[in-house]
Amino acid sequence: MRGYSHGRRVFLPAPKIARNCPIPDLLDKRLVFVTGKGGVGKTTVAVALGLRAAAAGKRTIVCEVSSQENASRIFDHTEVGFHEVEMEENLWSISIDPDESMREYVLLQLKVRAMRDLLFRSRIFSYLAAATPGLKELVTIGKIWELAQLDRKVKRGRKYDLVIVDAPATGHGIGFLQTPRTFAAIARVGPIHSQAQQLDRLITDHEHTGAAIVALPEEMPVNESAALEHDLRSEVGVAVDRVYMNGLYPERFSREEAGRLAELAEGGDGAVRAAARAALSEHSRARSQRAQLARLRRRTEAPVKTLPFLFEPELGVEAARRLAKGLH
């Protein structure tokens, strides 16, 4: 098994996020799941939340699941793998690999070395581990739990104030968070039963654990976010503290101005006409987005906060930093 990397990187310039501005109450929790439909910008929001918490002095780790490396990519960092790697002051990142989590779990469970070696060498074990539905998700959540402990189980484990999880997309996300309960119900005896119960208690602990849903101002993402919030509350039982409406266009033009621009878009020449048309496109999108924002507000219980669309070619750490500034 690979060891934990505690390697320090040279610090980037300190984030330009005011250190004394109040952070969202969401970040006062110990564990936050960021979820939403695929392609809505979950990772960017998770990283932005991480930057914001770190700037406020909280030791924060952003976790990717299913061996994804989206967060490290945002930081333009090499793949972090199953290691806690420092990205900036107070901000770490890890990509949780279920197989590594399983090994770590077994290592922590079985104190007898001979027995663990036997288990890892045995084909039947890896077969069973792969075949047992939900076991991968369970050990992944187990690792998240372990990271959130003040008394870390792994040797020399660092204490974190906040663990932010870039959770799987809708659909998979609900199943993921429900795994501990499902498992506790199926495995009625043995250590997994009580551990699964413990994980479920962590997920449903409204004081320490929360969820943020990321949505986009379009029909389908709004529908899915509303359904997701309902399922997270009623089926999983996790506290949904925020819904972030991501990618909101600015309202640059009033209706009256749009009327004047429409004339220019018909008449006008070359660049003037193209610019007027682009302005009308933006006006029309911004307006339909406001309608979607209103729908989202009507259909969700948690406070809906907006994040601006960033007119930037690629969303890197600077974009996340800009989002972080406006997070509330």
């Binding site: 288990l119 997994i192 379009e218 610019a275 682009a278």
Partner: protein, 383 residues
């Protein structure tokens, strides 16, 4: 530049693949509608259509069965249906249940499987089972031979490739001959197979809890009679996917990450010797026209025409932002074309309104089925 119509000429199956959030469902529906308009009998299999799209097509009352769409709905939006458009919303769990019912030797084993907790979990949640069931339904409809063309909208998995691997994973799980041996309550087979394995099994039991193992054993026993049927079917599904009348279309967005995924996906298709047909980039910012001179000139011209310096500044800013996105998209698409060694990248513009109804679908349809020059002309007219 070819159109979707050219790519799909003579094909029996079109599989639209790509990661979530790129508008795959809408594109799939638009492709099916366009091919039906050209005189084919087409069925689109979809997972989770936008509610308003589903409402406007009358899809929400659909069970796990194909239903014909009312051609008048499309004619109202300028698509004349020379053929027939059918649609169905896939229900992975129901398809799995049907499959079990078909493969089970008798009613008792069927009920034992359907009632088993492990089965219920697998059919709902095992990674790839939904994808596999999409393939299964595709295979079933193909075998029935009722349609000229089947268009499959693949499930939005985080890893868009899961479904390629799903049949293998599923049969591997169900097959598990060696596993079943250990599951027998006598333990005799375990002794025969060697002490190491049985110790491993008992350690595993201790970790996960005995009940789970018992359920697993029951499931595998109940399933034992069906394994061969499943495997044979999976093999036929695989050869159908590789058939020359099957065509994979990759759907992606113009941002860096979806483009990377499309490149990766294309490579996987080639490695798996599956027939790649083309790539559709959705929500592209088309360049809104050449900017002659510099921004200062534009600003001055706008200010003069509008008689409002403040508004002119905002219009110019917005134009610059929009141009930057259009340039990014053009760069990314160029990279995609080079990586895929194809000129056949079909672009669908980012429309002013979010597409979730028939009007939007008809709009997308125009781009998919226009020739390259026509597409540019439409875009220039719009932009």
């Amino acid at each position: 530049m070819s159109s979707v119509g050219d790519i799909l000429a003579g094909k029996g199956i079109c599989i639209c693949a790509g990661s979530g959030g790129v508008g795959k469902t809408t594109v799939s529906a638009a492709i099916a509608a366009g091919m039906a308009a050209r005189g084919l009998k087409v069925c689109v299999l979809t997972i989770d259509p936008a509610k308003r799209l589903a409402d406007s097509l009358g899809l929400h009352e659909l069970g796990n069965e194909a239903k014909r769409m009312d051609p008048e709905l499309f004619e109202r939006h300028g698509i004349e249906m020379k053929g027939e458009l059918w649609a169905m919303v896939l229900d992975a769990k129901a398809t799995f249940d049907e499959l079990v019912a078909r493969q089970a030797p008798d009613e008792e084993s069927r009920d034992r499987v359907l009632g088993n907790r492990i089965y219920q979990q697998i059919s709902n949640a095992l990674a790839g089972s939904q994808e596999y069931m999409a393939m299964e339904k595709l295979f079933e409809l193909h075998t029935e031979g009722r349609f000229d063309l089947l268009v499959l909208d693949t499930p939005p998995t985080r890893n868009a490739l899961d479904f390629l691997d799903a049949p293998r994973r599923l049969t591997q799980f169900i097959e598990g001959r060696s596993l079943r041996v250990f599951m027998r309550p006598t333990g005799l087979a375990a002794r025969v197979a060697g002490r190491g394995a049985s110790v491993a099994l008992s350690v595993f039991k201790r970790i996960v809890g005995f009940d789970l193992i018992a359920d697993l054993a029951e499931f595998l026993n109940a399933f034992s009679g069906m394994v061969d049927g499943f495997q044979a079917r999976a093999k036929r599904v695989n050869s159908l996917l590789a058939d020359r009348r099957t065509c994979f279309l990759v759907v992606c967005g113009p941002q860096g990450e979806p483009i990377d995924e499309a490149v990766y996906f294309h490579r996987k298709l080639v490695e798996a010797k599956l027939p790649f047909g083309g790539v559709i980039v959705n929500k592209v910012h088309y360049p809104a026209g050449r900017l002659r001179g510099d921004r200062v000139d534009l600003l001055a011209a706008l200010a003069e025409r509008l008689g409002d310096g403040n508004l002119a500044r905002r219009v110019a800013e917005n134009f610059a932002d929009y141009q930057a996105l259009a340039e990014r998209d053009a760069r990314n698409i160029e990279r995609l074309a080079i990586e895929l060694r194809t000129k056949g990248v079909i672009r669908v513009p980012y429309l002013d309104e979010d597409v979730h109804d028939l009007a939007g679908l008809a709009e997308i349809n125009r781009y998919l089925f226009a020739s390259g020059e026509e597409r540019l002309a439409i875009a220039a007219g719009r932009a």
